[in-house]
Structures are given as C-alpha cells and as structure tokens.
C-alpha cells in the first residue's frame, strides 16, 4: 500500500498515457473515419466555433459598414477601370465563344462528356485547427446547409481543399498544403499528370512526374479531375522550382494560386454535373450581340429634331441620316444609333444605308458575323423607351 501511495502520481501518469496511446493506436488502425472520437470532436467544435462565428460576424459587419458608408473614395475611378476591363473582356469573350463553339462541335463528334460546376455555396472561414501540422480550416456552413464530406472548396483564384468532416453548422476543410491531402493535377502546357501534396513545412509539391520530363518554372498547374473531387481544369497554382527528386521522379514545387494563409471566404462546390457536349447553336448570335454592344452610341435625338424629321420626311430610297445597329435579344440591351460612316469604318454590322431591326426572330447573322440588312423606305425614328424589341420603325417591303 505504501508503494502505491508513494508512486501514486507516477501510476496515474502511466495509466493516462497508456489509455491515450491505446486510443491513438485504435484510431490509427481503423481505416474508416474516426467515428469513435466523433463525440469528443463534436463537443470541442461545438464549444469553440460559436465564439469564432460570433467574432467573424462582428468583424464582417464592421467591415461592411466601413465599406458601405465610409470607404467610397475612389469608387468612380474604380468604376471607370472596371468598365474598361469589361470592354476588354467582352472582346475576348467573342473570340473565346467562337473557339468554345468549335470545341463543342468537336467534342460532340467524339461523344465527349465534360464535368462542370453547377452549384456552389459561399462560406466564411471562421477558424483554423490551431496546429501547424494540421493545415485545415473551419467554415461556417455544415450539414444543415447541405455540405457533405469530400466536396471541393475553391476560391476565385484557385482551389483550396476539400471538406473533410461535417458538423451541424460547421465543416472542417483540409487544405491542399496539408501533408495528408492529395489532388490529381496536370501541367497546363506539357499535360503531364501528377499528384499534388503538401509537405510538413507547408509547401506544395507535385509528385509522380518522371525525372526525364522537362517542366519549366512558371507553368500553370491545373486539376486533372482524376481524384473525383475537383472537376478538371481548375487552377491550382504555378510551378516555382523544379529539382531532381528521389527515385525516378522530379521534385516540383508549386505555389498555390489561392492564398491559403489569408482565407476569408470560400466556395464549396455542392454539385458537379456531367453532360454530353453539344454544339452551341446560339454562339454566333451572342458574339454579334457583344459586338453590337460595343458600337459607339449617339446621344438621343432631341424631340424637336425628331418632329422636324417627321415633318420633312425623307424620300423613299434616300439615305437616312443615322443607322441603327442590330439589337440584342437580351432585355437589358439598348438600341444604338451610330453614324453610317463610323459603322462602315469599324466593320460593324450596322447597315450603311438604312436601319435594320434584329431580334430573335429577326434576320440571322451570317457566318462572318454581319447580319442581313433590309432597306427601309421610311425615315428612321428613335424612340425614348429602351426596349428589347426594335425601336426603329421599319416598314415592310
């Protein structure tokens, strides 16, 4: 009894350590998820995450007030810049839509099935695991919001990770720089495939690329879709360093496109659909709409001038003073009256002589992107109300 009393502390220590080692061994041995420890995890997460949520909510609310009411300086300049960007992107979209349409036709010929993200859910990052060796974060969406394990988590910049555990109103997301994560990836130009893994130091490496391959630094890394979690083609990051690795493989360091150390909001991919590629029949029309949008605008004619025009009607067959670009079928698009010279010089699909309405049932675009134009015997009359339908009166032949 004396011995037990004397070594009581040591015996308790050994007992507690033994119990924990045993528990650890059981958890490691199990190949399935740690369901045996789920209750402890639920309690711990349920204790810590409400506080995190409250703090993040307070922080976000304060930030929103600041951005909504006080931080308006520079908005005009930013707006101008964004408009210019939109213009540039619209042009780019025209070119890409043509490429995409061609690709779809080819894919349809090959009966190609493509995956695409059809639904996402925005979530706020509320906390981390608190350990350098467990690179994972908690988000404020969980089972009640339809989040399930193995859903992909992304940002606008690139992929972030996957949902590992789901609780009632939170979920644990395993980041791609964790050493236990694995993402199927491929190099953009060389199309070499590998497995993306994290390292203990938090770096991301692309493994299983043979050492006899040439991989340039700066090459983009995309998801390959092989892991069944991330759809193919999402941006992962860029190659920063390539060195000979162990055995037959290269050691390729990758810098993730998404900043994993400053995550605030993420998107959880809740639905990925697979569909057979079909040629897009409306591609050409959309391209024309975009071009029409880009045509220069002429200020609306004063009412007096319109009346004067109406009074002194232009004789049939003569050239009208203005022409009208083809209209889009979209409800938000406005008709644009452009000078005939400007239209001709820019190669825009506006008629050189007369106005021509365009609608979904109107004249179709030609392959070259120029719509058919009808001569109008009547003068052009602009209307004040913006409508999707032609606003220029055009008489039938």
């Amino acid at each position: 009894m004396d011995v037990l009393g004397r070594y009581r502390n040591l015996i308790v220590l050994v007992g507690v350590l033994f119990a924990q080692v045993l528990g650890l061994a059981v958890q490691v041995k199990r190949t399935t998820d740690n369901e045996s420890t789920r209750l402890i995890r639920i309690w711990a997460v349920g204790t810590v995450t409400p506080l995190e949520k409250a703090l993040v909510w307070a922080q976000t609310s304060t930030g929103n007030v600041w951005h909504s009411y006080f931080y308006l300086r520079g908005v005009r300049a930013e707006n101008r810049s964004l408009k210019a960007q939109v213009e540039q992107m619209s042009l780019e979209r025209v070119r890409m839509s043509q490429d995409a349409d061609q690709a779809r036709r080819l894919q349809a010929l090959l009966a190609f099935k493509e995956q695409f993200i059809s639904a996402t859910m925005a979530a706020q990052v509320i906390g981390s695991s608190g350990s350098e060796l467990s690179r994972s974060v908690y988000i404020d969406k969980g089972e009640r919001d339809g989040i399930k394990p193995d859903m992909a988590v992304i940002t606008a910049d690139g992929i972030v990770g996957k949902v590992l555990r789901v609780y009632g109103s939170t979920a644990l997301v395993l980041l791609i720089d964790d050493q236990t994560s694995g993402v199927g990836a491929l190099l953009d130009k060389t199309r070499l495939q590998g497995i993306l893994r994290g390292t203990p130091s938090g770096e991301v490496v692309l493994e299983k690329v043979m050492s006899d391959e040439t991989v340039p630094a700066g090459e983009m890394v995309l998801t390959s879709g092989g892991d069944g979690i991330f759809p193919k083609g999402l941006l992962v990051g860029r190659v920063t360093k390539v060195a000979p690795g162990t055995e037959l493989f290269l050691n390729i360091r990758v810098r993730p496109a998404a900043d994993l150390s400053k995550l605030e909001e993420v998107l959880v991919v809740t639905k990925i659909d697979e569909r057979q590629a079909e040629p897009d029949q409306t591609g050409a029309a959309r391209a024309i709409d975009i071009l029409a949008e880009r045509l220069p605008k002429v200020p609306a004619k004063p009412e007096n001038a319109v009346k004067a025009d109406a009074a002194g009607a232009v004789a049939p067959g003569t050239v009208a003073p203005t022409t009208v670009a083809p209209l889009s079928t979209g409800s938000d698009l406005k008709p644009k009256a452009v000078p005939a010279e400007a239209s001709a010089a820019s190669g825009a699909p506006a008629a050189q002589k007369k106005a021509s309405p365009a609608s979904s049932s109107g004249p179709k675009a030609t392959a070259a992107g120029t719509p058919a134009v009808k001569d109008s015997p009547k003068p052009v009359k602009a209307t004040a109300e913006p409508k999707a339908q032609p606003t220029v009166e055009d008489s039938p032949h």
């Binding site: 507690v16 350590l17 204790t47 608190g130 350990s131 994972s136 974060v137």
Partner: protein, 172 residues
C-alpha cells in the same frame, strides 16, 4: 534570479477558481485556432502549452498537472484532423513534468519561468514528434534552430501569460 532549489515545505501552492480552471484553457484553445488566421506569425506560439505549464507550476500537484494537460491536449486534438491523443499525450507529460519540477524549484521569478518554458516547449515538441512519427506515421522534419527559436518566442509570451495567471491564482 536563477532557478533555486526549494524544499517541499517552502513552496507555496496555489489553486484556481472553477471558472478560471475551465475558461482559461478554453480561451487558450480558442485563440490558438482563431488568431493564426488573422495574424500568420501567431502560429509560432502554442497558447495551450503555455497555459498548461502555467497551471502546472502554480498548482504544484503532479496529478492536477497531468489531468489539466490531458484535458487541454485532447481539446486541442479534437480541432485537428489528426487522431486524438497527439497533443493529449505530449501535454500530459508536460503537465506532469512542470508540476513535479514546480515542487522542486522556485518558479516565481520571470527568469526561471522563461527557462522553464523553453525547456518544456522542447520536451513537448520531442514527445509530439516521436508520437506523430512513430505511432501515426506523419512525416515530420526536426530542426533544432527552429525549435529553439520557437521556444524562445513562446517563453517570452509565456512570461506575460504567467503574470496574468498570477492575478487569478489563489493561495491555498
């Protein structure tokens, strides 16, 4: 200043109120999970470890020390995606060791606390490293300069935390 040997009769034993016993470890685990997201550099600190050492040295009871360490460690483990027990085991050892050493040494001075924290930080990392590699099979890299630097950073913060804990501890 230095760590001085004191007899069992000389050491003062403190206790903490129940709210402090529960809320301080919870706050430490919460801040450890929350702050690194906002301040990247904070991930070098280990608040739960510092609180474990602080409680253990103040109470000077090995039993209370190991149980406190075990509780805080398991709570910390539960937030990670690794099996529960990694932090649990290492903090159990640290709690037991710190309280046992607290009986033998005078750890009321900042210098002693600073050295003690560095020592137990390294002990904690060694135990964690061994379990993570040996039992769980995680790949880990050991770097003495990194561990010592982290130890010093944690010790500096630890001295401040121990001063805060001094305010809530009660003499028995």
């Amino acid at each position: 200043m230095a760590i001085t040997y004191t007899s069992g009769e000389q050491v003062e034993v403190y206790r903490f109120s129940i709210p402090a016993t529960v809320l301080i470890p919870l706050a430490a685990v919460f801040l450890q999970a929350f702050l690194p997201l906002r301040f990247r550099f904070f991930s070098i600190f280990d608040l739960p470890l510092l609180v474990t050492i602080g409680f253990a040295t103040a109470r000077r009871s090995p039993l209370a020390g190991l149980l406190t360490g075990s509780f805080i460690g398991i709570l910390q483990d539960a937030l990670t995606h690794h099996p529960i027990g990694l932090y649990g085991i290492s903090l159990t050892v640290v709690g037991f060791g710190a309280s046992s050493l607290g009986i033998k040494l005078d750890v009321e001075h900042s210098g002693a606390r600073f050295l003690l924290t560095i020592f137990f930080y390294v002990v904690h990392e060694i135990v964690y490293f061994m379990i993570a590699r040996g039992l769980v099979g995680l790949h880990m890299e050991w770097s003495w300069p990194h561990e010592l630097l982290s130890g010093v950073a944690n010790a500096l913060l630890g001295v401040l935390i121990f001063m805060l804990l001094d305010r809530v501890k009660q003499r028995t």
